[in-house]
């Protein structure tokens, strides 16, 4: 496996991760697409040296067929995931007028409640201290 391919895999993953950490669903989808391509390449790379098409009775030096089988389904499933995510983005757009990932409100509420009880607890212990 050549160094160029290995480097390319790394770059695809890095770029994909950067996009994945965004709030815009469209960019997340593009990031997933890049990571998917990187993964397919990685799978192919593990198959060793490139060779002839794996058709039985063909050449002697054929490419490893197993990664190819894996990648083939991965490509199609990647498309299905992309279409599903695009549907999400679309739905978000029709509802909210944007395609941003919002903060999880219930999580935020817990964090806020925790801060509140902490403040209350401090107040309560102060009161007890005064009483004694």
């Amino acid at each position: 496996m050549s160094l160029a391919i290995v480097g390319l895999i790394g770059v695809l993953f890095a770029a994909g991760t950067y996009l994945l950490l965004q709030r815009t669903i469209t960019r997340i989808i593009i990031g997933l697409g890049l990571i998917g391509n990187g993964t397919n390449l990685l799978l192919m790379a593990t198959g060793g040296r490139p060779g002839a098409t794996p058709v039985a009775g063909g050449g002697s030096e054929v490419t490893d067929p197993v990664p190819q089988a894996l990648v083939l389904t991965a490509i199609v499933i990647g498309f299905a995931i992309t279409s599903f995510l695009l549907a999400l983005a679309w739905r978000n757009w029709t509802l909210d007028g944007n395609d941003e990932v919002e903060d999880d409100i219930s999580d935020r509420r817990i964090a806020r409640a925790e801060r509140d009880t902490e403040a209350d607890g401090a107040g309560a212990s102060d009161e007890r201290g005064d009483g004694a």
Partner: protein
Amino acid sequence: MTALLTLHAVTGAIAILFGRRLGRRAVYVAGLGPLVTFAWLIAEFGTILDREPITESVRWVPRLGLDFDLRADGFGALMLLLVAGIGVLVFVYSNAYFPPNKEGLGRLIGLVGLFAGSMVGLVLADNLLILYGFWELTTITSFLLIGNDHTDARARAAALQALLVTGAGGLAMLAGLLIVGHEAETFSLSGLIADPPAPSTALTVGLALVLVGAFSKSAQWPFHGWLPGAMVAPTPVSAYLHSATMVKAGVYLIARLAPAFAGPVGWWRPAVVTIGLTTMVVGGLRALRQTDLKLLLAFGTVSQLGMMVAVFGLGTADAVAAGSVLLLGHAAFKAAAFMVVGALDHAHGTRDLRRLPRPERGQRPVALIGAIAAASMAGVPFALGFVAKEYDLEALQHSPWAPGLVTAAAVVGSALTAAYSLRFFWGSIGRMATESPDPAVAARRSPPGLVVPGLVLTAATFVAGVVPDVLDRLVSASAASLRPTVGSVHLDVFHGFNLTLVLSLVALGGGALIFALRRPLEPVLALGGELPVTAATGYAAALRALNRTADRVTGVVQNGSLPIYLGVIVLTAAIVPGTLLLSGAWNDGDGAIVDSWSQAAIAALILGAAAAATALHRRFTAALFLGVVGYAMAGLFVVRGAPDLAVTQVGIETLTTVLFVLVLRRLPDRFEQRTAAPMRVLRIGVAVVVGLTVFGLALATGAEDPATTVSDTFIERAYPDGHGRNVVNVILVDFRGFDTLGEITVLAAAAIGAVALARAGRRPGGVRDSAAPPPVPLDRITVLEVSTKVVFIALSTAAIYLLLAGHNQPGGGFAGGIVAGAAVALRYISGGIESVRRLSRSKPWTPLGVGLITAAGAAIVPLLFGGSVLESGVHTLDVPVLGEVKLTSALAFDTGVFLVVIGLAMMVFESFGDDPPARSRDTAGGTR
């Protein structure tokens, strides 16, 4: 024995389910379990006491060491006698105690029956895991019984506390049992004790966890807080569960394990005996301050359980015998004492010793029961409790660990016991009343049902206290089953004037003194409630701390920002294997920077396109560059000898691009840029770390020789077994066909999800919103239309060719389906969604479903002919023109895949191809 357990389960369930219709008769139904068990025990008593355990085994999961092994030996019989014997008496008592029209009586009584069954299972189980199962069943039934009055917040809190404490202990015990069982290489209880594993760190941890479970169940300090709280349960339940049976489960387990581990495991005796005696003293001190007779007895139970844990924890020969006697004695007097409290409560409407009046003539029997029970509790001669105390003090004097200290502590504990026993008796006969009885409550006479069971128990206490010889055989068998070296035991009331007798008398005298001087001693006794960590405050503090910690952790870890969650996950996934990689083998590929120049050119193209897709801020352009990456990938696949992939990739990339166009035409052109600079730096940092890790990973996987065995086998067997020459396709539809079936199911699910999301909110039946502007038809260009039709036909033919030829040459269901999908895309571009819909009268989900069913059918059909799933068959046809045509069952499967992929493509257009009811301007403006 299995039948006994089943009987309990069935009768308990009947009482619960038909409780309303059965009324008070539920008591008879649920009482059948203990009654039959008692009868069975009497019938088998001779066999068991001759030291021949009765065993029964139902194979369950032998490979996990999980078999339904039951074993009734001497100690088991002793426990069973308590569970079934006292069970019968409690049922008789309940019959008189509860008013006949009591709401929910059936449920309560049924649960008691279920509990009795769980307890029977617990003492009979000979498999550690089965024992654990019954252990938890008693926890759950106990929870339900304590919380029986579910409208009372106090009862709910007490039930929850009992569940949390004993449940947490139970979980610790499960972990401990697994460790111990692993060390012993058996989960058989008798096997474990007969051949205990050698001491090791793992064994220490395992035993410590088991002990935590036993301590929490038997209400040992510092876990004892739940037991007094459990007194909110109805009195018959308290008498049965929280004095005579369930709380003895922990004692039972310690008694079983101690002979095997007390000697070899050095810390066992100091730890167990210390906890036991601490509990004894703490419980005794607390009992002396109670005014509620039931609470007094509850703390007394805590104290007595401490004594039992200490004695059984020694594990010596005289200790197992002494413990057995104590177990019997305590069960008899404590159940009787609870029954007295219940009768008093029933008669006077209170159980507070400050309000109870002196007994009238008719109530003398109740007072007598109370007197004998208290005497036995205190250890007065000619009661069974005295005999038990004598043997216990004897055993503690011979303790291999700190005999002086433990004996002294036990004497102090016994003195406290004597003191609170006096307090109980004095209070129960109204000698401590400070208020005149409430005249409004007329005293009721206790019916015989409330008196007879207590009389039976006290008679037993008295007889066994005068002539303890009657228990010889039972105690001998029990002790011998715990510790086989024990010979036969002979019980005596009087052992001559020795130290033990002196100590017993000291304890009695001390107890009387403490009780007499209770007013001056008040500040000293109050210390019992002022211990630094009392169970109640400890429990509350632990619960609060748990909630606070959970809130705080959630507040910090889950701040609500999804990108941050994702960042944490991604970074963890990168760093953990990344650090491992740093220490692993490195490889610089096969030395080549590039394999070929064509490859280098494609790689450079991908690099540039990926960078552009990342950096650009226009949605459309970024998506197009993603497409460029995809098409270039197809080029790489060609270079690497994977034409199947190349075809599929090109098709998919075309569809993806169309899809992006369809969706993004609705969204704004540019991304809103609101990210703060530090956040961007953080993202870039995470991205670089991930990139480097994957880079290292790719290098390291290249370092390994490609796993050739599987691939070689596949290549060799593709034609003989799979009847195909295209190895990739044979793998997909034959060798790994089951995986493919799963994958197309995922495709179908994703497609349905996408359609559902995209069409949500639209009117059903595809009726257009009449208010929406009609779709703008594309300009019809005849040349385009005609050429589209020609290309469409060509593409369709190609797709079918790919499908049919795919087994032997590049192609296959996936590739064929995608090309067909691309053909559909072409139709869409030229003629819009109507043109796609005109393709066939069926809805787009029809090919999806038909495909899935075809593929699943191809997988299942071989089963009908006695083959295995997805077994491939071949049939050769001699077609006149085409010559010999091979039909393989794999083709049917591949056709299914083909249809699913076409369905997927059509679903996509169905989702997004329709001109959507555009967001009306005013609502869009409203949310902005």
